[in-house]
């Protein structure tokens, strides 16, 4: 038996012994996730227990180094762990922007002190993070951001406004892009971390066309940020941000995958059989679904072996999000007038139309489709021009 097979066997045994039965039930809604943080109220003792045993093994972040609270697993071992978790139906023990976004950036750009300080807390789910990037005037053109940190010797005083900060009202800390030099557009931004309870920080939830949302507007009014809370060099925060955006993009393009992409015609068989033109569109859409899954599989295989173009995730983000929007247009067509109900219990309080409307943001958040196409044209296809 190879080492990997031994690892698989042991992992499976450990998961069977340690993952509470309740944590193996399918996730029913976003509410079922565990986000951790200072103010987190566990939904059940099982949720708490599962996070604790996993964090103790470093398996909330299995491929991070052990000294920072990770599991120290190799890429192959990490894949085995995920596969075995999937087989048993184990829930992800911790949802976290700290794990998905900030952690990788700290691992790459953080000082040794920062890594030792922040990463283990992230791994144990003790700090909940939010991201401060976009501003009302800086959407696709992120680098035009205006939030300004004035140098006051040992600290900055930050003033400005962020938008689209997910769960800002629930987060403990923020990682935030702040202008620290007004002269240089690109090399005038720094990547700062600070506590959301700092005086001068306020948040306001954003209501979307689909209803309530995790997004907030976040306002900074003379917020004091100590200088040691910068990640990377002064004025070079754009490098950190770009690195991190890459991670976000992969996450979002991956979001189009999963069980949501099964045959749409099979899911709405009766409608397909009654409506020949709808059926034809579902048939063509099923083809695109299978294509996207195969494409994602190939991309991941090529990515892992370093064969994929560094900008390829932009292409996948474009395709995946446009496809998901189209899918929900078809779901709405299949649902007919039933799917128009916005508040009724029968319509699960508008679950279908709200999901449909929510998908419209897929091709905007994390880089618009237009920006993705620009990037693909310029970086992959090497089209001329600025």
């Amino acid at each position: 038996m190879t080492d990997l097979e031994t690892f698989r066997k042991e992992t499976r045994a450990w998961l069977e012994a340690n993952c509470p039965a309740e944590m193996r039930e399918p996730v029913k809604s976003e509410e079922d996730g565990c986000w951790g943080g200072r103010n987190w109220v566990f939904k059940s003792p099982a949720q708490k227990q599962w996070l604790e045993v996993m964090a103790a093994k470093g398996w909330t972040v299995p491929d991070w180094p052990k000294e920072y609270g990770g599991g120290g697993l190799t890429a192959e071992e990490t894949k085995v762990l995920r596969t075995e978790m999937a087989k048993l139906g184990c829930r992800v023990p911790l949802q976290s922007f700290g794990i998905w976004m900030l952690g990788p950036a700290l691992l790459k750009f953080g000082t040794e002190e920062q890594k030792k300080h922040y990463l283990p807390q992230i791994a144990r789910g003790e700090i909940r993070w939010c991201q401060g990037y976009s501003e009302p005037g800086s959407g696709s053109d992120l680098v035009s951001l205006q939030t300004y940190g004035e140098d006051k010797g040992d600290h900055w005083v930050v003033n400005g406004q962020k938008i689209w900060t997910s769960y800002a009202d629930k987060a403990d800390w923020i990682f935030c892009l702040v202008r620290t030099n007004k002269e240089d557009k690109y090399r005038g931004i720094s990547f700062l971390l600070f506590d959301m309870t700092s005086p001068g920080v306020t948040t306001k939830p954003i209501k979307l066309i689909s209803g309530a949302s995790p997004f907030c507007e976040t306002f900074f009014d003379n917020v004091k940020v100590p200088k040691h809370q910068i990640v990377g060099e002064l004025n070079r925060g754009w490098d950190v941000a770009k690195y991190l955006l890459g991670h976000e993009r992969e996450m979002i393009s991956g979001g189009g995958l999963g069980e949501g992409m099964a045959s749409i015609g099979a899911a709405f068989k009766d409608m397909a059989e009654q409506e020949p033109v709808l059926r034809a569109q579902m048939a063509l859409f099923d083809v695109e679904t299978m294509v996207f899954r195969a494409h994602s599989e190939r991309f991941m295989d090529e990515w892992k072996t370093g064969k994929a173009h560094p900008a390829y995730s932009n292409l996948m983000k474009y395709i995946g999000t446009e496809l998901n929007k189209k899918r929900h247009e078809l779901v709405m067509s299949a649902g007919g007038s039933d799917a128009l109900e916005w508040e009724s219990e029968r319509g699960r309080k508008g679950a279908r139309p709200r999901t449909w409307l929510r998908t419209k943001a897929n091709s905007i958040e994390g880089g618009t489709s237009e920006v993705m196409l620009n990037v693909v044209a310029k970086r992959i296809l090497e089209m001329p021009g600025a």
Partner: protein, 378 residues
């Protein structure tokens, strides 16, 4: 004149457009919605519609109306669409009026005056499933005495919960799927055995699921011919379909204009986003689609008004195309607005919601494209 508006039509538009822009702009919809209004529209606005004569556009002159046509009704509906005005105009003053034109003197005498005065709301109770399939009518009307007894369910009856009367398609012979054997009835909403359950829809209007449990009506309640109601139903539906299509020309046009305005105002990367050629080309394409929709809707209105036998085919094409074009307009609208387009605070999302509801109303693009194929013999 051909497809140009006549002077009278231009004058009507010049009356309707400022009236709605002033009295029922998008914020009117917002205020009803945010107040959790349970009617679905403003009754005083409906009274004003009547006073302005709008509710009588399709009512024959001999019966006190203006005796105008679908082109004129479409002018009102386009502005309703552009302003997202919640209104029973389409159901009551267009679809119901056309159906009542094939009713007897009794029903006409009762309902035309109330429609003209803005005192009646009429609901169209045709759909029984999630998709529009009028021939699939299964709601049963059995003969009982010299009248009928109706039992069954309808859904997507817009304004049905506050309607004074419901026009109900019922099966008096044949089986679901047959065009023959359907009869159309005028059923008072307060008749014994009628229950309605109102649901707020994605576009903030209210529609009802209606249950008829042994509802007794007299023979006077029949609109058109017993078992041969398909003709009257078709008349009702064609009016409703071209009306919904006209409203979508307004919805799509409103979304498009708002979006083009945004392209000329929003800056990113140091320039107006409307300067980006990729967006310019998409804008030009969208404009062409909306212009095409406007044209086929107008053509179908003319054919309906002329009593041309091709009207049904063109109405189907018009509903199909307005669905495609308006959907493109709202999708491009949200995408080109970017993040703020996703917020409830901006109006563009409301256009997307209204588009969705109108897309389903009286049959969607797929349904009507299929009908075009069938009418073309394949």
């Amino acid at each position: 004149m051909g497809m140009n508006h006549t002077d009278d039509q231009v004058m009507l538009k010049d009356t309707v457009a400022p009236f709605l822009a002033e009295n029922a702009p998008v914020k009117h919809l917002r205020s009803l919605r945010d107040a959790n209004d349970q009617t679905g529209f403003a009754r005083d606005l409906w009274k004003q519609f009547a006073e302005m004569g709008f509710t009588g556009i399709l009512v024959p002159e001999a019966e006190g109306g203006l005796g105008l046509g679908h082109v004129e009704a479409g002018i009102v509906l386009e502005e309703i669409g552009r302003n997202l005005t919640p209104s029973p105009f389409l159901t009551t003053a267009v679809a119901a009026v056309e159906a009542l034109k094939s009713a007897g003197a009794h029903l006409r005498g009762e309902w035309f005056p109330k429609i003209l005065s803005g005192d009646a709301i009429i609901g169209i109770a045709v759909d029984e499933g999630a998709k529009h399939r009028p021939a699939a009518t299964a709601l049963v009307a059995e003969r009982a005495g010299n009248g009928f007894k109706l039992s069954g369910k309808k859904q997507f009856v817009v304004h049905g919960h506050v309607a004074d009367m419901l026009i109900v398609s019922a099966r008096t012979a044949g089986a679901p799927g047959d065009e023959q054997g359907i009869t159309l009835f005028a059923v008072p909403r307060d008749a014994a055995g009628v229950t309605t359950e109102a649901d707020r829809l994605v576009d903030s209007q209210l529609a009802a699921r209606v249950t008829l449990d042994g509802v007794e009506v007299t023979a006077d309640a029949v609109i058109g011919d017993v078992d041969g109601g398909w003709a009257s139903l078709t008349r009702l539906l064609d009016a409703g379909r071209i009306g919904a299509a006209a409203e979508m020309v307004g919805v799509g046009g409103g979304a498009m204009d708002m979006t083009f305005g945004y392209l000329k105002q929003r800056k990113q990367f140091g320039q107006l986003i409307g300067e980006f050629q990729a967006l310019q080309h998409r804008a030009a394409h969208l404009y062409g689609e909306m212009e095409g929709a406007r044209s086929i809707v107008l053509k179908a209105q003319h054919l309906l008004d002329d009593g041309d036998p091709r009207a049904e085919l063109f109405v189907a094409a018009a509903k199909a195309k307005s669905g495609l074009a308006c959907n493109l307009a709202v999708r491009e609208g949200v995408q080109m607005h970017g993040g703020i387009g996703m917020t409830d605070e901006y109006d563009i999302g409301l256009y997307m919601k209204r588009d969705r509801a109108l897309a389903e109303f009286f049959g969607d693009t797929n349904f009507h494209a299929d009908r075009v194929a069938r009418m073309n013999g394949y």
